[in-house]
């Protein structure tokens, strides 16, 4: 059988997403990743160099996915509530990503950030779309567009970042499913831009 290094790499990445999202860069076990991928762990060091670099590779792959799956065209910036809803939907379907981001945030300053340039450009693009929508009067202009983007991500992400807090906060709210959360989110973002 021909070597299929691309597939082996992908198996490792897939297993690593799970492991890193669950346990973080510290707690992730290289042996577990290798076993889960059905590959010898030495492959990880051959292909990725170290555990930390594998983490970076995982993060970059996931960043590319989310960027591709939740686009924002100029027109869609007219209803940021719906945009927020779509971002929310993505994270509901792919809860790994925000956990990876949280792990990255917690080790911020101790290792360099993955794909910094691409991400900066990515955010700048969104901010520009927001600013354009404001300039054309399609959404309210009294909030700095970067802060608006911040607000959308904060309001989407907090559910996933501190689920234990949210659970305690929502203990008295009878109807607290994903749909209710999504509706509240969309409503609040619209209120920020009306």
């Amino acid at each position: 059988m021909a070597w299929n290094t691309a597939k082996t790499k992908q198996l490792l990445l897939d297993a690593a997403v799970e492991e890193f999202a669950e346990h973080g860069p510290q707690g992730a076990r290289v042996d577990r990743i290798a076993a889960c991928a059905g590959v010898n762990k030495e492959r990880i060091y051959q292909y990725f160099g170290s555990k930390q670099r594998l983490f970076t590779a995982v993060l970059e792959a996931e960043l590319a996915k989310v960027a591709a799956d939740v686009p924002l065209t100029g027109e869609q910036a007219t209803d940021l509530g719906e945009y927020a809803g779509r971002v929310f939907d993505y994270h509901c379907a792919h809860p790994h990503f925000l956990r990876l981001l949280a792990w990255e945030g917690l080790q911020d300053g101790r290792v360099e950030v993955a794909a910094e340039d691409e991400r900066r450009a990515h955010y700048a693009e969104k901010v520009a779309a927001f600013a354009k929508a404001q300039a054309e009067g399609r959404i309210a202009g009294d909030v700095d567009p970067a802060h608006l983007l911040y607000a959308v991500f904060a309001l989407v992400g907090w559910w996933f970042s501190v689920p234990q807090v949210v659970r305690m906060m929502m203990a008295g709210t009878p109807d607290d499913g994903p749909q209710a959360r999504r509706a509240a989110l969309v409503h609040m973002v619209r209120r920020l831009t009306a």
Copy 2:
């Protein structure tokens, strides 16, 4: 000299806050905590039982602090923007706390949550204050009060939870100090309740 176990305990807690906030429950090193407190590490097991229980103790102590330092009277609920600003100020001054919360969030489901009852009561109190302000028409009533509380905490906390993302997002914003962030936060929260 008389034994001062209370002081020893406090020294350990103080050292543990630092260590846990920095490295999380996984990454924290018991030896480092003990050394930093100038105490033998065996004390930790005598006083707190295990590393995980020490983490819980640390979290409970910090929860008590924040609850005491950022109160919300009925009248203050009239200006939630200012309330959010005060919460923001607290976290700027005590950046440990949100990190601890983030670590707790990431291990959610694997260990039980600290002080669950007290915290539920604490949040319920805030929600009730919000609801009262809404009922009396002092703030807008079209957002569920629990979701409003969620929004305040999300908008305050996200800066600290994913600092790396915020940095990239704000790369194009010339004036991005704590004051600018605070102002944007206050403005956005007011917009949610106007």
